[in-house]
Structures are given as structure tokens and as C-alpha cells.
């Protein structure tokens, strides 16, 4: 079976550079902005920026697994909110015999499991029922979003301090989310670059028909990518709800998707599947988060941010398409 999939290649800096389009852009952005807003490199801003990157990276990483397999997951905003709310329900009705710590562990577990379950359901629909990923995830966005609204009746749930410490605690001066996200990045890199699952994922994304003929478990691979994405959405749900001390059906707005897909695409993940690396996604997340941070520091209005990000993602997609047609 191993002979049917591409072998693991040694690290190719030129190839990595072409996938991580964001790296030169990041340097140029900072260089351009520094004279206008020197505070971009202040310690306070760098910490805010690092946390924004961590949040975006988790989401973009999950999205990238799905995109590499040739799919897309538009349900992330609804899943993030649903995970936050599912956890909040655990905090709202804690077991009186247990301490606050066990309630936090339970809440965290429920949040992550909610993401995994929704991801698995989407994966089954896309892989085994052969439904189009766009429609499946769009329908999931509506069903999960509506279900969360129904479950909460539009109420917001304030979360306990024991839980929000996940976002705000600084052991040895380092924010916990950065440690968690670093671990996620290492695991994701290992999974994509050094495991059979990773090689199958690229093979399925490049050409599912050929992969099927070669005897690869295409359905299982595609479904697994959605499970990974669901887990990442669950983790983002933990971070977002801890950050805002709140869980609700409107925890994040749908335009978080724009940031997430932009980060993946700018980081070199192909919308047509089969291509993408963790380093690229990280660079993409840094770039998109930096643009948002820069525009906030410039004091520009929200719609300027949207226009800028929309323009950048459009150009990145155009570049992606142009690159593919050149190779063809």
C-alpha cells in the first residue's frame, strides 16, 4: 500500500517559499507600517497579535486539512459558537459533589467533542454520501447555527474564571493558548509530513479517482479531515469563549471564515486540494492577523478592513489559479 502513495520528500526551501507567499508580504507590511505606527512592535501589541495569530492559525489549520483533501468547511463559525455553548451548559449545571476543576475539564471535553461530532457528521456526508462539501458545510452552518440559537434562546452565558484562565493565564509569562497552538502545529506538521494519513490526504486531494484506483481508503481519509477540522473548531470555541468570558450563539461572526480561508490560501493551501503545509498556513495566519492588527492601529473603520482582506484573498485565489494553469 505504501508504494502507491508519494514518498515523503526532504524539506525543499524553494518549494516551501513558493507555498508560503505570505513571508515576504509580512516583512513588507511591517516595514511599511513601522514609520506610521511604531507601537506595532510594542510588547503589548505583540502579545495581542500573537494571540490573534494563534486563534486564526487553529481555525486555518483545521480548514487546511479539509482543503488539502479537496473539500471546504464553511460551518466553522457556527461550530465554534455551538462548542462554546455546549461547554457553557456544563458550567451552568455543575455536579455539586465535584470541584470547579472537574467542571472545567468536563466543559472542555464537551466543547472539543462537539466539534469532533459535527466534523464527523460532515465527513460522513461528504465522503460516504458523496454530497458536495460546499452544500454540506453551508447546510451545517445553518443547522448548527439555528440549533444553537434554539438551545440558548438568544441568551448569553457568562463563563467561570476557572475556565477563562485558559486564555488569560500566563505561566512563566507565556500565554497558555500559544503553548497549546504550538503543540497543535507540531502535531499537524508531523501528521501531514510524516504519516501515512498525511500522504493519503495529499494523494486524495490531488486526484481522488486515481487514489481510489490505487486502493487508498479515500472515504475514510476525507472523513478524517473533517474530524480534524471539527476538533480545531472546538479548540477555537474554547479560546473564543474564554477570551470573551461568554458563550452564545453569536460568539463569532461569519466573516471569521474570510480570515481563515484567506490565511490558508495565502499560506499556499490550494483550493483545488492536494497542496499545503503547516509552515505556510502559519505564515498566512500571521499575515492576515497582521493586516487586521495594522488596520486597527491605523484607526480605520471596519469596512476598510473588509475591503482590504477581501482584495487580498481575491488576489491570492487568482494567483493560485494562475499558478495551476501554468503548471498544466
Amino acid at each position: 500500500m505504501d508504494r502507491d502513495v508519494p514518498p515523503v520528500k526532504r524539506f525543499d526551501w524553494r518549494r516551501a517559499g513558493s507555498q508560503a507567499r505570505a513571508v515576504p508580504l509580512i516583512a513588507l507590511l511591517i516595514a511599511c507600517l513601522l514609520p506610521w505606527r511604531p507601537e506595532i512592535l510594542s510588547l503589548y501589541n505583540l502579545e495581542s497579535l500573537a494571540l490573534a495569530i494563534a486563534l486564526l492559525f487553529v481555525l486555518a489549520m483545521g480548514q487546511s486539512f479539509v482543503m488539502i483533501s479537496g473539500g471546504i468547511d464553511l460551518s466553522q463559525p457556527a461550530v465554534i459558537s455551538a462548542c462554546g455553548v455546549a461547554g457553557a451548559f456544563c458550567f451552568a449545571a455543575p455536579d455539586p459533589s465535584a470541584g470547579a476543576g472537574s467542571s472545567v475539564v468536563l466543559g472542555l471535553t464537551v466543547m472539543l467533542c462537539t466539534g469532533i461530532v459535527v466534523g464527523a457528521a460532515q465527513g460522513l456526508a461528504v465522503a460516504y454520501l458523496r454530497l458536495p462539501p460546499l452544500l454540506v458545510s453551508l447546510a451545517t452552518l445553518m443547522v448548527v447555527g439555528g440549533g444553537t440559537l434554539w438551545a440558548t434562546q438568544s441568551n448569553r452565558y457568562e463563563l467561570p474564571g476557572e475556565f477563562t484562565r485558559i486564555w488569560y493565564a500566563r505561566p512563566a509569562g507565556v500565554p497558555i493558548p500559544l503553548l497549546i497552538v504550538a503543540a497543535v502545529a507540531v502535531v499537524a506538521h508531523f501528521a501531514l509530513a510524516h504519516t501515512l494519513f498525511g500522504r493519503r490526504l495529499y494523494a486524495v486531494g490531488q486526484n481522488a479517482t486515481v487514489a481510489r484506483i490505487a486502493g487508498l481508503p479515500v472515504e475514510r481519509t476525507i472523513a478524517s479531515s473533517y474530524v480534524v477540522c471539527g476538533f480545531c473548531s472546538g479548540l477555537a470555541g474554547v479560546f473564543y469563549s474564554a477570551r470573551l468570558y461568554t458563550a452564545s450563539a453569536e460568539l463569532v461572526e461569519n466573516d471569521v471564515l474570510l480570515d481563515c480561508i484567506a490565511a490558508a490560501v495565502i499560506g499556499g493551501v490550494s483550493l483545488s486540494g492536494g497542496k499545503g503545509k503547516v509552515t505556510g498556513v502559519l505564515a498566512g495566519a500571521v499575515f492576515v492577523a497582521l493586516v487586521g492588527n495594522a488596520l486597527n492601529l491605523l484607526g480605520l473603520r471596519y469596512w476598510h478592513v473588509l475591503i482590504a482582506k477581501g482584495t487580498v484573498i481575491l488576489l491570492a485565489v487568482a494567483l493560485d489559479a494562475a499558478g495551476r494553469s501554468r503548471r498544466a
Binding site: E39, N296, Y302, H304, V312, L315
Partner: protein, 340 residues
């Protein structure tokens, strides 16, 4: 590679253009960050304009940010204010809970923070809230309307349009309504409580359904004048939109005091509204931020008592009604654009 350059040029050109559009700060001027959740309704626009005018009057630089209903984005904007070293922050938050991390972020950075018009949930952060006395003002408004009902000697079927219950203001207004109704049970029976989540669509659907289920509703309070267009539309469809004096007139009251409420008062469709004093709230917010920056101790809540405006006192109090000023300004603008 050619594509690379195109992308670079667009991004950098855009940033340079954006940066060029920003004013260079004057070192001797105080700087206040003003973060609004939305400018979706007339009330927030009027508040924003009043704050800008007050800051200009006091020669204070204003950094602005609109979050477009996204609490995450608003927290990012507050952090950007802090990174830019503002002397104080005035924030109009999305709800009572999501403002807590903003308060704590400002506290950690030692920046005074004033919460405009929405009371935060109980927390251990340091902030000052400038807010209308929603409970008392609603109670007074609904009591005025109930007195009209009692005066007409007719038992009425009542309906309330409730706001987003994640917003403390909506809860206080609902409670103010219930408290007033409790004192007038001889003339009022509440038959419909319509949740709107501060959404015109939900308000229209909810009121339409309520009027179908209870066609005899003839006493309505809306928790915000911002919902009046939906309410009027549903009343017109049910043939229940008539001026005062008409026997089919539905007793109608609101809260905020916006331009449409003023127009409806003048035309005789609206009986009363609880007016929030935008100008007082804005000057009190700026004053609170400056006093906190000087290290003065001030109460955690500064209350705007507001006032009830109705058919009986419209002429004498319209000058204090912000909606009347907005209406007059819009009318002048329209007259100017029509030309001689």
C-alpha cells in the same frame, strides 16, 4: 513571480494610502478612544455625533472604532487603543458580558474606561457606566400611558416588544413595564410579550403574529423607538394605526426619543416615549474619563434620569429631545437640497 509583485503592490499601496489618511497626533492633546458596537440605529449615530462634538469642544483627539456587532472585533479595537496609548476609553458594548474582558484589558494597562449606555454584568474590574435609568424611565412612560387608559375608562389588552435579554437595558425596560402594569391591573391585561432581540425583522414577525392571535390588543409599549417602523407596519396591516382621538387609536409608547418618535408624536400616532438625554450621557462620559485619568474617584454608575415626553408636554420639552433635533436637522437638509 509577477503575480507576487502585483499582490505586494496592492497591499502596500493600500496601507500607505490608509496611513496617509490618518492624522498625525499632536503630542500636547489628550486622546480618547471611542469604540461603538454599531451605528445601526439613529440613537447610536446621535450618540456618536454628540461624543465627537463634545470631544472637539474640549480639544481632545478622538480615535474611533466601530465593531459592527462583533464583540471579538471590539476587544481587538480596545487593545489597539491601549497599544496606541490613549488617555481614556469610552465604549458602547454589544452586551453586558463581553465588555468584561475589555474592562479588564483597560485596567491591566491602567487606562480609564467608561461604559456608555449599557451596564456591564457584575465583575471585579474598575469602570464607570453612564446609563439611563431604564427601569424608572420605562415605568414612568408606561404609567403615563396606563393613566390615559384609566382616564378613558376602558380595560385594555397590552403588548410589549422586548429587546435582547443579553442587554441589561432590555431587561430593565421589561421590568419597568411589568412594574407599571402591576400597578394598573384594573385597566391592563398583558396578552403578548414579543421577543425581538433588537431585530426589526423579528419585531415585525412577532407583532404580526401577536395581532393575529389577539386582534383586540390596544395598548403597546416598544422597548426601543428603533422598532417603531416594524410596529407601525404591522399595525397598518391590521388596520390599527390611527391618530389619537380616533376611537380605533391604539395607545402607543416607546423608549429612546428618536426622530421617528418625535414625528409620530407631532402627527398624533404616538402617545409618549421615554427620552434618553444623549447630550447629558455623552458629556458625562467624557467628564468621567477625564476625571478618572486625573485619578479622581467617581461613582461606578452615573445615571441619566431622562424624561417622559408626551402629547401634553411636547411643545415645552421638544428642545431637550435629541430626536427632535435630528428631525429638525434632517428637515433643514431636505429643504436645502430641494432648493428655492
Amino acid at each position: 513571480m509577477g503575480g507576487f509583485r502585483a499582490l505586494d503592490v496592492v497591499c502596500i499601496g493600500w496601507l500607505i494610502a490608509a496611513a496617509a489618511g490618518c492624522d498625525a497626533p499632536r503630542a500636547d492633546r489628550l486622546r480618547l478612544g471611542v469604540a461603538f458596537e454599531t451605528l445601526q440605529t439613529e440613537y447610536w449615530v446621535a450618540s456618536y455625533d454628540a461624543l465627537a462634538a463634545e470631544l472637539q469642544r474640549q480639544d481632545i483627539e478622538m480615535l474611533e472604532a466601530i465593531a459592527d456587532n462583533d464583540a471579538n472585533r471590539q476587544l481587538d479595537q480596545i487593545q489597539a487603543f491601549i497599544a496606541r496609548g490613549v488617555d481614556g476609553i469610552v465604549v458602547s458594548p454589544k452586551d453586558a458580558s463581553t465588555v468584561i474582558p475589555m474592562i479588564k484589558a483597560a485596567n491591566r494597562a491602567g487606562v480609564p474606561i467608561v461604559i456608555y449606555n449599557r451596564r456591564p454584568a457584575p465583575n471585579d474590574g474598575q469602570s464607570v457606566t453612564v446609563v439611563a435609568d431604564n427601569f424608572e424611565l420605562t415605568k414612568a412612560t408606561v404609567s403615563y400611558l396606563a393613566e390615559q387608559a384609566r382616564g378613558q375608562g376602558k380595560r385594555r389588552k397590552a403588548m410589549i416588544l422586548i429587546g435582547d435579554l443579553g442587554d441589561r437595558n432590555a431587561i430593565d425596560r421589561r421590568d419597568g413595564f411589568e412594574a407599571a402594569v402591576g400597578e394598573y391591573q384594573d385597566v391592563l391585561e398583558v396578552v403578548a410579550r414579543v421577543p425581538t432581540d433588537w431585530s426589526q425583522d423579528k419585531a415585525l414577525a412577532g407583532v404580526t403574529n401577536a395581532l393575529q392571535a389577539h386582534p383586540d390588543i390596544d395598548f403597546i409599549f416598544t422597548s426601543s423607538d428603533f422598532l417603531l417602523p416594524s410596529l407601525v407596519s404591522a399595525l397598518k396591516n391590521a388596520d390599527k394605526y390611527h391618530r389619537t382621538g380616533d376611537p380605533r387609536h391604539v395607545l402607543l409608547a416607546g423608549f429612546d426619543g428618536d426622530a421617528l418618535a418625535y414625528q409620530m408624536l407631532v402627527e398624533g400616532y404616538l402617545d409618549a416615549t421615554g427620552v434618553q438625554d444623549v447630550y447629558f450621557e455623552c458629556s458625562a462620559s467624557v467628564d468621567a474619563a477625564l476625571r478618572m485619568a486625573r485619578g479622581e474617584k467617581i461613582p461606578a454608575i452615573v445615571r441619566d434620569p431622562g424624561f417622559v415626553i408626551h402629547q401634553g408636554n411636547l411643545a415645552e420639552r421638544k428642545e431637550q429631545m435629541w430626536g427632535a433635533q435630528v428631525f429638525a436637522k434632517a428637515s433643514r437638509g431636505q429643504a436645502a437640497s430641494n432648493g428655492p
